[in-house]
């Protein structure tokens, strides 16, 4: 069962359900444990307003730009537990809502992550929601508009969402899958928040805070990112993300030489093509001094 979907709860929601095989990670709800997040353009305020108005939120942006971190941050700030579901192309509505499991001689109903979030008033975050199968929209639609109900077909139950419940979905508009896209009817139920890679100064602060690198090193990495991002569309499918920069910075801080760390964490992560990698390496060498 856990292999089908991996989800994470920021706080233990229901210990009884934990035994059913879901992996939940309890974390302390102390304010000091709020994950680091550098605000870019007032998105935190917007999120808070949406939360108060009980509106679902759609996050879009390229990979590794901080969508997931943002949700974790906001959940901690609002003091709500977070249930994250990474969607994949085999994820069905039943995976979200729940299903009957075989008990000893009979069946036992088991809530899915979405149903649990609705019941307990958690923030439910569906990562890469376009990847999920189309039937999931059926359960998302009534939840995402003003009805805020989750119909559970199998049990005949109609779950009214608790006031603290919030639905957050994310997707990556520039993703490779040419024919997968959010339906307009789904998209229009959400408050949209657009993410992009942060401004150089903010990005530098993020790299610094996440990796413990000094200001000079992080500034250099951000400069490298700026150069590599000019190559998107033409030479690279996806460009270097803030996440990759942090990874590289951590390797360097751990003692790996800069060119080696950049090659492993950035160049080889971006491309499989040998020729492109060699050329990218030249760009890296031109920006990072040996």
């Amino acid at each position: 069962m856990p292999s089908a979907y991996e989800f994470l709860a920021a706080r233990a929601v229901n210990s009884a359900i934990m035994n059913a095989g879901y992996r939940t990670e309890p974390s302390s709800a102390v304010a000091s444990a709020i994950p680091f997040y550098a605000e870019q353009a007032g998105e935190c305020r917007l999120f808070e307003h949406a939360y108060q108005q009980k509106l679902p939120v759609l996050l879009k942006g390229p990979t590794g730009c901080g969508k997931t971190r943002f949700v974790e941050h906001m959940a901690a700030r609002l003091g709500r537990p977070l249930i994250t579901v990474s969607c994949h192309d085999d994820l069905t509505a039943a995976d979200l809502v729940g299903r009957y499991l075989i008990g000893d001689g009979n069946t036992v109903w088991n809530d899915g992550p979405l149903a649990r979030a609705v019941r307990t008033g958690a923030i439910c975050y569906l990562d890469e929601v376009v990847e999920a199968r189309k039937d999931t929209t059926v359960v998302l639609h009534p939840l995402a508009d003003d009805r805020r109900v989750l119909p559970i077909e199998r049990t005949g139950e109609e779950l009214q969402a608790s006031p603290e419940f919030m639905l957050v979905v994310s997707y990556n508009p520039g993703y490779q899958n040419l024919l997968k896209n959010l339906k307009p009817s789904t998209r229009q139920r959400f408050v949209a928040l657009v993410f992009d890679y942060p401004e150089p100064e903010i990005e530098r602060r993020i790299v610094e805070a996440e990796s413990g690198a000094d200001a000079v090193l992080s500034a250099r990495l951000v400069k490298l990112a700026a150069a590599l991002r000019r190559l998107t569309d033409q030479d690279l499918e996806e460009t270097v993300s803030t996440r990759l920069l942090v990874v590289a910075a951590r390797l360097i801080v751990a003692g790996l030489p800069e060119p080696e760390a950049c090659r492993a964490a950035i160049v080889d992560a971006l491309t499989d093509d040998g020729e492109t990698a060699a050329a990218l390496n030249e760009v890296v060498q031109a920006v990072i001094s040996q």
Binding site: A4, A94, L179, R220, A227, A279, V283, V287, I288
Partner: protein
């Protein structure tokens, strides 16, 4: 014997005088990819291509040996213009191979930072160096080594005279200052700028040239910005139709002989010499000359057979003259024959639609720039009745074509069709799953029996669920095939591009019919702003004998105005109710047409058309057999928006594979 001695002498003296380091030479080809990427990463225009530069006259003092050998007069200088970054094809300036390679990389960085709007060659390069070092701090060490090595090669200014001396001094000062700049003294640069007499003499009274001055030896680390391009463009506003056509024709003729990508310096000049005869010279004879005077320009006919491409290489600049009259007659007739008369042409279907076109210079969509006209091939019966011949050769050829394709392609067609039928998704249940939407009673009973009988252990999740497999594909496709004249070229030993396209359309049509997805099949070509869309199969039609005959009847002609064709297809698809709409483009090269629709304009327009298609919720995708497509298609369709077929004979198969891959997600 004399010739032999001469050759030997030439070889000997050439080698003796040669100041370059052949054993350390680095070729542009080895580093093109890195140069391109570095150029773009530095902020250079992504549409600029890296090409080998031609040789041009250079200045600077020469040693006596070089003078004897006639060497050192010409060299390939790095030049940046709107469309190309021209770099020397080979660099052998330094004895160290590493250093020569670094020079290429440095030129890319410098080129990316070169601000062509600034005045003056020296100023431009000075600013570019500063920018490049700021952007690529990792190049600092290499730059310092390059400058030191280059300064050692430059002639001491004391040995020069006059303007050359001042210029040389200024160059060397600038280079030294940039070295000092590296050490941290930023003011030095400014100081030189203020102290140099050359830079201070009326900086803005006249625009300084942006090309390398002819008086000094070339500075290998610097680039010159091409200024000839602007003048060319101003006169090229209203190009002479005949001359353009003619030029095109000649280009087409020469294309297969030699693929020459060198960037030549070109300048459009008015042909002002009037060699057409003297009229009012002698009063008495003037009557005679009136009657005898025929405006004939024989320059085109009198040329002997020499290697023109070689001549073009040797010339400093190519002068493209605007000539109104006197084009060679042969070329004009040849072209006129190319245009079909109304009676022989395909039947126009409906009125033409006006289409806009994107002008990247104005950054605006110009309305009604083009007109698209749909054509429909005449049915074979009509051919027969009109010509009143039973064995019309055209029809016979068509029938033969159809029959041969049928037998040849039957196997591929059947295979592909079978493969496609798997795509035809019908709703069905999948049983025996460890998880799913519903419990399956059979599986449940079997599981219980197994468990009660106690023999076998069961896992945590028994396979007792069923799940409904997704169905309901909602996908329509427009297939756009490029039918420009370039498809007349041979792609393989046996087949022309058009033949491959025809085969592909057959196979694809058969296959799509098997899937049941609605599709429209169109061919396109263009003559200037009128776009010819050849209807092969409409959405509303079925894939029948008529459609197959129309496929057999496609033939190459005219040019490729890709943007307009994409816009037309976009409109067709926008009317479709299907949720997913695919715009497939089958192409063999870049967009081009007679009037400026070449190079950058065509690319930008196409790019914008693709963008519009995306905005309309369509999925544009390009399948090409142009082996150089990697240079421009990512820009047009995005990295994931095209497929390059390396073996043209595999086109049909490759296209269907692409289709399967693209639409597999549309469950």
């Amino acid at each position: 014997m004399e010739e032999w001695v001469g050759e030997r002498w030439h070889r000997f003296i050439w080698r003796a005088a040669d100041a370059s380091y052949r054993e350390a030479a680095v070729e542009l080809e080895e580093v093109t990819r890195a140069v391109q990427m570095l150029f773009r990463a530095g902020g250079g225009d992504p549409l600029v291509r890296v090409v080998p530069a031609t040789e041009q006259k250079i200045g600077g003092p020469r040693g006596w040996l070089q003078k004897v050998a006639g060497q050192g007069e010409r060299a390939a200088l790095s030049t940046l213009d709107e469309e190309t970054l021209a770099l020397p094809p080979v660099i052998a300036v330094f004895p160290d191979k590493e250093l020569n390679r670094d020079l290429y990389l440095w030129l890319a960085a410098q080129g990316a930072c070169l601000d062509v709007t600034r005045d003056g060659w020296l100023e431009q390069n000075m600013a570019a160096t500063r920018h490049a070092l700021e952007r690529f701090p990792g190049l600092k060490g290499r730059y310092a080594r390059l400058v030191r090595a280059h300064l050692a090669q430059r002639p001491p200014p004391g040995r020069l005279r006059g303007g050359a001396r001042e210029m040389e001094q200024a160059i060397q000062d600038t280079l030294r200052a940039s070295l000092a700049d590296l050490a941290g003294a930023t003011e030095q640069m400014a100081e030189v700028h203020a102290s140099s007499p050359l830079l201070n003499t009326s900086p803005h009274s006249t625009p300084l040239p942006t090309t390398q001055p002819a008086t000094v030896a070339p500075v290998w680390l610097w680039l010159q910005a091409s200024e000839t391009l602007q003048t060319a463009e101003s006169t090229a506003q209203e190009p002479d139709p005949e001359a353009e056509k003619n030029k095109k024709q000649q280009e087409e003729d020469q294309k297969p002989i030699k693929q020459d990508t060198k960037r030549r310096r070109a300048q459009r000049t008015e042909d002002s010499t009037s060699k057409d005869g003297l009229m009012m010279f002698f009063r008495l004879e003037s009557f005679l000359s009136w009657s005898e005077f025929v405006r004939v320009n024989r320059t085109g006919d009198d040329e002997d057979n020499q290697d023109y491409s070689k001549v073009a290489d040797d010339m400093e600049e190519l002068h493209l003259a605007h000539r109104q009259p006197g084009e060679t007659l042969a070329a004009r007739i040849k072209f006129d024959l190319d245009l079909p008369s109304a009676s022989a042409d395909d039947l126009p279907a409906g009125e033409g639609d006006p289409l806009p076109e994107w002008d990247y210079k104005q950054a605006a969509l110009l309305p009604d720039r083009c007109r698209v006209q749909r054509f429909r091939a005449r049915a074979p019966e009509e051919f027969a009745t009109e010509s009143e011949q039973v064995d019309d050769p055209a029809q016979a050829a068509l029938a033969a074509q159809l029959a041969s394709s049928d037998s040849r392609l039957r196997r591929t067609s059947r295979q592909v069709r079978r493969r496609f039928e798997a795509l035809r998704a019908a709703p069905r249940w999948q049983h025996g799953l460890t998880q799913g939407d519903e419990l399956n009673l059979d599986d449940w009973v079997r599981f219980q029996v197994d468990r009660r009988s106690g023999g076998t252990l069961h896992g945590e999740s028994p396979a007792i669920f069923s799940r409904r497999v997704k169905s309901g594909r909602s996908l329509s496709t427009v297939m756009l095939a490029d039918l420009s004249l370039s498809t007349d070229a041979y792609a393989t030993q046996q087949a022309r591009v058009i033949d491959l396209v025809r085969d592909t359309l057959f196979v694809f049509g058969d296959a799509l019919e098997g899937v049941g997805d609605p599709f429209e099949m169109l061919g396109f070509s263009s003559v200037r702003r009128s776009i010819r869309i050849h209807e092969i199969k409409r959405f509303s039609e079925s894939w029948d004998e008529g459609a197959r005959q129309r496929v057999a009847a496609i033939r190459p002609g005219f040019y490729t105005r890709m943007g307009a064709a994409i816009r037309h297809a976009t409109r067709r698809l926008a009317e479709r109710p299907e949720r997913q709409r695919l715009l497939l483009l089958l192409s063999d090269g870049k967009p081009n047409d007679l009037d400026h629709y070449e190079g950058r304009h065509g690319l930008e327009d196409t790019r914008h058309a693709v963008h519009e298609a995306r905005q309309a919720g369509l999925t544009p995708f390009c399948v090409t057999i142009d082996q150089t497509a990697n240079a421009y298609l990512p820009r047009l369709f995005g990295t994931n928006g095209y497929a390059l077929v390396h073996r043209p004979e595999q086109l049909a198969r490759a296209l269907t594979q692409v289709y399967v891959r693209l639409t597999a997600a549309a469950r």
